[in-house]
């Protein structure tokens, strides 16, 4: 059974938040870092609290350098997985963070070894966020050795009737459920997954408990987070749709083919010809499809579309060892329909939660997003999260002759990212208490 009173709420509860702030922190003096942490632990949300339970939700996570900066000893640090020790910026070549996405261009100090921690604040609304930010500013002023490298404010993109990104695609359509949480997965979402796929110290889908970084008090009930700040080039995206569809209906279909769902969220497998907003809004139906039986050749959902790459469902093996939990939101002002590109950065700033960055997150990014030969396509990458430089294609199967779009432009640019460890509450106390001798397993 999951220790819900020890696990941070972040991956288990989804607060009804319309605003957020991510604070990126550096610990210049370990004792200040520990004292600062000690004072905020009681504000960190626990999974056991359920929800909605308050008007703001706090999460704290650390880079490998951050664990060291708080005083975790070298022997313990060495037991963390290599990809986490290296950090996201060092894994750029693996993740496809090249060209404009390269860490050399990242903002907010995210590529720096001085990035030690992130404080994630989700708030009911902007006013509540501002109240919490002011409160925390006052609190943090006591600890000059805790430096804010940068912050990012997020607000839900209107209209607010459902979550969507700046391109207009409905989000949160397909999320795994975890065994023991008492939530039945929606039809088509597969069985609830073993907790060890997301939380350290529990059996995974193989029935094994993976290696625990040491000491156990630090790692048990923890998860790894991959953070990505990704600009969405809304003007370029709309230009692309206009160039590839003569009518608004055709443009909407092209947008749907890139994603695998209509922007409303209705899946193309179930609504191949026309959008179906009622279907999109019905969780009992909007994820209830497969590919192998219902769309083997991709006539509805192209083989290289975003949702078919990021969750190939029944067309891959070991799918349950690759699942991830996504969290995050949109930042930057929306670009009104019909308005010219204004050059203001807008996008999504999101987290992937998992038990193994290399097996789950990095696999999805390295293989599903960026392998040009995925599904034997030959020269394609994910149209949204793949690294695009204008040399890749997008094939849209169609009878009698497929449509092939060559030279797909980059609709997104990665402006930052990092790997964090999201500890349990006891682990936060362990970190706040500072270096001490803990018996090793």
């Amino acid at each position: 059974m999951l220790e819900l009173d020890d696990i941070q709420h972040f991956l288990l509860n989804r607060p009804r938040a319309q605003a957020a702030r991510y604070g990126f922190v550096s610990f210049r003096r370990p004792e200040h870092g520990r004292a600062w942490l000690s004072g905020i632990i009681d504000r960190v949300g626990r999974a056991a609290s359920g929800g909605p339970f308050d008007s703001r939700w706090v999460t704290v996570a650390f880079t490998w350098n951050g664990l060291r900066a708080l005083g975790v000893d070298e022997a313990s640090l060495a037991t963390f997985p290599e990809e986490f020790r290296q950090g996201m910026a060092s894994r750029a070549a693996i993740l496809g963070d090249t060209g404009a996405n390269h860490p050399d261009h990242w903002v907010g100090g995210l590529a720096s070894p001085d990035l030690h921690a992130i404080v994630i604040l989700f708030a009911r609304d902007v006013a509540e966020r501002e109240r919490c930010v002011a409160e925390h500013r006052q609190y943090a002023a006591q600890f000059p050795g805790v430096e804010a490298l940068s912050t990012l404010d997020l607000e839900a993109t209107p209209p607010l009737d459902y979550a969507h990104d700046h391109f207009g695609y409905r989000d949160r359509m397909s999320q795994p459920e975890i065994e023991g949480m008492g939530i039945d997965p929606t039809p088509g979402s597969g069985a609830a997954l073993k907790p060890g796929e997301f939380f350290l110290g529990y059996p995974d889908e193989n029935g094994e408990i993976g290696p625990l970084p040491q000491p156990e008090i630090l790692s048990r009930n923890g998860s790894f987070l991959a953070y990505r700040r990704m600009e969405e080039h809304v003007g370029a995206f709309r230009d692309f749709l206009r160039a590839n569809g003569e009518t608004p209906a055709e443009q909407e279909l092209v947008a749907a083919k890139l994603m695998g769902r209509w922007r409303s969220g209705a899946p193309l497998v179930l609504a191949p010809q026309h959008d179906d907003p009622q279907l999109a809004a019905d969780p009992q139906r909007n994820n209830n499809f497969d590919y192998a039986k219902m769309d083997p050749h991709g006539y509805a959902v192209p083989l290289g579309s975003h949702i078919r790459r990021m969750n190939p469902r029944d067309t891959t093996v070991n799918m349950n060892r690759r699942r991830i939990i996504r969290r995050g939101g949109t930042y930057g002002p929306p670009l009104p329909e019909g308005a010219a590109e204004d050059g203001i950065e807008r996008g999504i700033a999101a987290f992937v939660g998992c038990a193994s960055l290399i097996r789950q997150y990095e696999f999805a990014q390295n293989v599903w997003a960026n392998d040009p030969r995925f599904h034997e396509l030959g020269n394609e990458r994910d149209p949204f999260v793949g690294t695009q430089d204008g040399t890749y294609d997008m094939t849209i199967p169609k009878r009698p002759i497929r449509k092939k779009i060559t030279g797909l432009p980059a609709f997104t640019t990665v402006h930052g990212g990092a790997y964090f460890f999201l500890p349990g509450i006891r682990a936060l106390r362990f970190l706040a208490d500072g270096p001490c001798v803990v018996p090793r397993r």
Partner: protein, 188 residues
């Protein structure tokens, strides 16, 4: 860069000489530098010393794999194999095992899937007879992968009579041929 340039003409046999390291330029995969696709597709050649006295057990697994495939012909399908060759040979007084696989899957990318299959088909139990194999492999995929990479002997030459053709493409072509033959038979 696009990789469209590597899509070659299957009618032109091709050979590729490969540097000692096994790759031309360092391209980082999740577990280390990735090996290139050659005219003979992807593949690996793993050579490792076996633990003394385990030869008979290793040979017996050959029959076990045969039985597995007889009962479940598509058990190894996710690996997109062309061929597997298992060889035992002597170097001085020691016995060595060679595992050579030719396949279309980029092993660097799908390593964890391969390990899952090894477990399911009993291949892993052969690995357990090899010296230096990590005994915690069941929960420690990176250690398994490290062992494989350390014992991988890259080719310095690979040749393809019909280069870069995948097993899937070959099977599609044969199915098409079969369908045409059948159609022509029915037209007699």
């Amino acid at each position: 860069m696009s990789n469209a340039s590597t899509l070659s003409d299957w009618t032109q046999p091709a050979a590729m000489a490969i540097p000692k390291e096994g790759y031309f330029t360092v391209e980082q995969g999740r577990y280390g530098p990735t090996y290139p696709r050659t005219p003979a597709c992807h593949g690996f050649t793993i050579i490792a010393k076996i633990k003394p006295g385990t030869e008979a057990e290793i040979r017996a697994y050959g029959k076990r794999i045969e039985d597995t495939i007889t009962a479940s012909p598509h058990a190894l399908a996710p690996l997109q194999l062309h061929y597997l060759r298992w060889v035992l040979f002597d170097i001085g007084p020691d016995k060595y095992f060679m595992y050579q696989g030719i396949f279309d899957t980029d092993f660097d990318k799908y390593t964890e899937d391969a390990i899952q299959l090894f477990k399911a088909t009993g291949v892993d139990t052969v690995f357990e007879k090899l010296e230096g194999f990590p005994m915690d492999w069941k929960t420690n995929a990176p250690a398994f992968i490290k062992f494989v990479r350390e014992h991988q002997c890259p080719s310095f030459l690979e040749y393809g009579e019909y280069p870069y053709v995948s097993a899937t493409e070959i099977k599609k072509a044969l199915a098409l041929k079969q369908a045409f033959s059948s159609m022509l038979d029915h037209m007699q």
